[in-house]
Structure formats: C-alpha cells, structure tokens
Symmetry: C2
Subunit: 339 residues, 2 copies
C-alpha cells in the first residue's frame, strides 16, 4: 500500500527549518511513503535547496498562502485563514489526496480546523488528544490531554474506546487494559463524573481495569489512561515540570566542584544512555482521535528528529486503520439513551 | 511560648515504630516543645522502653483504645471510633490541651474527624490539604491536594487566601504570589469554574499572578498554586510517578555494566548530594487548612525522619498563628452575596 502524508510545513516554532529537513530524513528511512509539503512555496523550496534536495513525484510541494500563528485563537484560524497551510493539509486528508496529516501548529486551531473539515466519527461527540508516554514497563496512551475541559461520563467512555482502539491498532495488543484516572483506587473515590464514567466503562465490554492514580501512569499499570482534558493536561505538564527540575538538579550537582566535574566525565557514557532513554522527543506526535481522518499533532518546539517521529506515527495509524477501527468499535455500543 | 503537640502514634503504615522514635528525635533537636503521645498505652510505652526512653512531664502518653486503619472509610472512623488515637489527638487540640496535632493516619478520616471536631473558620466552606513542594527556585505551596473533588470558584478563592496566609506566616513572605492552575496562561483557557475563580482572585486583594500551568509548579513561578482537589491530587501523584521512573532509570543505567558500576562508585558523592536534594521526606507534612486548629497530615509511609519534619511543620504553624491569620484575612472579604 502506498501512503501519502500531508505535512503542514509552516506550523510550530521553527516552521520549514524543521519540517522540511524532517521530511527529507524521514523519506530516507521509510520507503513507500509520499509526502506533500504544504505551505508557502518559496519558503519550502528555499529550504529544500539549502538541503540539496528538490521536489519530485514522491515529495510534492503544495502551496498555501497563509500561516496560522502559534498564539492565534481557534476561531480566527478557522474563519479567517481558509488558505492556511494547516487548513490545506487537513483538506488533503478530507479529499483523499493524503491518508493523514501532521502539524506542529497550535493545538486549539488544529483541533478546530480538523473537527470542522473532517467531522467526528459516528457516536463520537468530541475528538480527544492522545499521547504516548514512557512508563517503567513500556508505554502508556493517555487521553484527553487538553481538547475537552468539561467532560461528561459518556465522553470519558468514548475516550476509553478510542484509546483502546489506538493501542490495539498500533501496538498490536489483543485487549488493551483501560484505567480511569482518579484520586484513589476505591470505587467511592472521585467526583460524580468519574464515578458514572466507571460504570459506563465497566459495562462497555472494554478490558476496564478500574480506577488508577497519577503515579500509575508512569508505573504502566494499564495500557490506556482516560481522563478529562483539564486533568490530563495538568498531569502531563506537571510531569514535564518535575522531570525538568530533576534533570536540572542532576546537572547542577555534576557541575558543583572539580571532583564532580571529573565524576561527570567518568559517568558520561552512563549519563548519555540515561538521556537517550529519557528523550521525550521519541514520544513526539499526539493523535487527534475520533475524527474521520488521521491528524497528528507534533509538539510546537519539536526539532527535526522529533518531527520525524510524528510522521512515523501518522504512517503507523494509516497502516493500521485507526479511524476505521474506532468506527467499528463504536458501532458495537448500544445506542445512547434519549436525553 | 511553650508549645504542646499531640501526636497520633497509631496512624500510618508503621504506627509507634515510626512515630515514637520520631518524637524522641524531634525533642532532642527542638527544645520547648511538649509532646503528647496518643494511642494504645502499652504499645507506646513498649516502644519507648525499646528506645531506652520513658514518659515524663514533657513527653506524656495519652491512652486511646481504638485505631483508625488506613483503608477505613471516613464515615466509619467518624461514627464508630470515638476513642481512636486520631480522634483523641484532634480532641486535645479542640480542648486547648495541645496547640496542634500530627497524624500519619488515613487522609479522608483525618479530614472528616478534624472538620467534625474543630469546625471550619468563619467564611471557609471547606478545609483544604496544602503541601509544600520543591521547585527550581525554592518551594511552592499547592492546595487543594485531594480533600475537595468538586470545587466551585468561591472555594478556589478561599484556597488562595488560605495558601497566601500560610506562606506569609511560615515563610515570612510579605505578599506571596498566587497562581491558578489551568491548561494555558491566557484568560480564555480552562473550564467555567477556573474562569470565574480567576475573576474572584483578581478582585480579592491577593497578589494574584493569574493562570499557571502544570510545569509552573516546579518552575516556582508563584509562591502558591491553587486548584481543585481532584486536579491537585492527580498533579501531585503524576509528579511522584515520573520522579520515581526517572530515578529508577538512572539507577538501572548505573548498574548496567562493569564500567557503569565503576562510574557509579566515582559519582557516588555527586549522586548522594543529588539524592539528598531530591529527598521528598524533607517536604513531609501537609497542612489541613481552614480549620479552627492546626492539623498536620504526615505521609502514611513516612519514616522517622519524615515524620519529624511533619512535627516541625506543626510547630512552625503554631508559632506563626496560621489559623488566626486566615481568620483575620477572611474578615476582610466582602460578605458573600445571598444565594
């Protein structure tokens, strides 16, 4: 199967300086994937020339005259920038010219544009942002990470289904376990939304583990962790914050004295291995799940290596038909009760 | 001023084996603080004997015949165990025989008992759990960490006031900055509760910084971070989880090969300094704020060193009159609008 991925080359903090070299590097490593570079044609072609590369049938340039900035509101991006690189990249998925698109542009705008252009799958009320995170045992998929800040129980159920479908598809896991993020493992813990969500998840036919707590994310207690977008976003950013603090403290201690700088030299291979293991760039590429199409959000500050991982993730989702799987699974749910 | 602290000796995972040696060690270091050891008299006295110590006028034993277990519900502890060490310790604060109490017992029960016995301060609807956490710059106080899972805007306002009073008291900070935990710094971010809370905080006369994100906790952006207890609990436990994962990965890398084990030996003093710096035991002792009395919650798994820190925290709050300060500050607020 030949796969085509549309790349929003203008999104992110670095635009074509990162997205174009990432695209070139990606194509070297992964054969059989065509890329469409979407954005200001001159900027993209200049960047290709700098790298001694040129467009061709497998690496096309698709001009889009506008750029969504990182601090632009979703509404402005949606209404005011119909020829933005982000919008055009998503349009290519809609029209079938691309199987997926990848953007490092601003999350709110990408979600709004994707939802408007692609629409949600039947039975899905709201798309969710799902990221893969490292754990002590392997990896975990967490959703929602910020698209939905006021979730009802049925939304959390839908997130559970989407997360389980994603893991089944890309990790080839038979019956992924799903945990519900809560402040204790007992059934009586948490707020009403979480308690009702637990009931829905228990009756869903998913491999529902029950409640999990914040530290279970990194213990790898379950394959999927489901939460409201507000909670998920805070959990993710708190984790990033504490990780940065620990790494900074370690660095400071290794610089403190002549002896510790010597120790750092001796420990360099070990610290290098540790850093590679903790490299968050390897996990770059969040899925916008629940849409009639595949949209991958790269971190805005991604470098070329990180952006390549997001392209890789897009390809994995295409190969494994993630939206189709979600659709099929949703069809198995009993119809919702009338409100 | 002579200070008396009641110690729930039976609470926590280890009971008197930890609380009694912690009390003895604490009194060696801090003169002028009397302790009342509350719990099963035989168990406490046996533990004292093991340590070659004995009760006396400054280290009294106060018998309580029941023990609240770690997995007991708050309702059972409250209704069924009126002579528990936890309840009796809180009673001693109520009667004025102690200025504060410290317990490593289960959080839900301690909160319920404290609230029932001591009552909340005027204007405070719900007590909150406030912990101090390390940051890149110093320390931050975060509340609520799990007592309240469905907060309204006015509760978040009250948390802001209580947190600011605590920091002003124990850190002797003039006008502590207060951040509101959100999923973006812009005013339009977040759910309705957070948006309304921001308005209340802005009008409160506090040094309100505005919205902060999860990573701002550990960046030390503000002195106080305010959040719903569900969100705060998840943020705290996620942080603990990622920290444990990073430390475990570092340890594994230093054990991987003969060379890395040698490097570990060379780096031992550096790693030791790093470990001391990251030692979460130093931050043990969460405040139950908003009560007519001082109650400190130690981590259930605390060792003697950690439990000592919680005793120290109780003394600091007594010396600096934390409940009185909160009371005075609440009196400055305009009366609430009739519902």
């Amino acid at each position: 199967m030949d796969i085509t991925v549309a790349v929003d080359c203008m999104g992110g903090d670095h635009g074509p300086h990162v997205t174009v070299p990432a695209a070139l590097e990606f194509q070297k490593g992964v054969p059989g994937v065509d890329l469409v570079l979407v954005g200001l044609q001159d900027a993209i072609e200049a960047e290709l020339r700098t790298r001694g590369a040129a467009a061709g049938p497998r690496l096309r340039v698709h001009h889009a005259s506008q750029v969504v900035t990182m601090d632009e509101s979703a509404a402005t991006a949606l209404r005011g920038k119909k020829d933005s690189s982000m919008r055009v990249a998503v349009n290519l998925v809609k029209s079938g010219e691309a199987h997926a698109c990848v953007s490092a542009g601003n999350t709110g705008a990408l979600m709004a544009v994707s939802r408007f252009v692609l629409k949600t799958l039947p039975g899905i009320d709201r798309p969710a942002i799902c990221s893969v995170l490292p754990t002590m045992r392997g990896r975990v998929y967490v959703l929602d990470l910020g698209a939905n800040v006021d979730c009802g129980p049925e939304h959390l159920l839908q997130f559970g289904i989407m997360g389980a479908c994603l893991v089944a598809a890309v990790e080839h896991a038979e019956n992924p376990s799903v945990g519900l993020l809560n402040i204790g493992v007992e059934d009586i813990k948490g707020n009403d939304v979480v308690k009702q969500a637990a009931e829905l998840l228990r009756a869903s036919g998913l491999n529902f583990f029950g409640n999990v707590e914040g530290d279970d994310i990194y213990k790898g207690t379950t394959d999927v962790v489901v939460c409201d977008g507000f909670v998920g976003n805070v959990a993710l950013k708190s984790s990033e914050g504490v990780a940065q603090m620990i790494i900074a403290a370690l660095r400071e201690e290794f610089k403190r004295s002549a002896y510790s700088r010597l120790a750092a030299l001796v420990a360099l291979p070990v610290i290098g291995a540790f850093r590679r293991r903790m490299d968050h760039r390897r996990y770059n590429g969040a899925s916008l799940l629940g849409l009639k199409g595949i949209v991958i959000k790269s971190h805005g500050s991604a470098d070329a290596f990180a952006f390549e991982q997001a392209l890789q993730r897009a390809v994995e989702e295409v190969k494994n038909g993630v939206p189709q799987r979600i659709s099929q699974r949703m069809a198995l749910l009993p119809p919702p009760k009338p409100a």
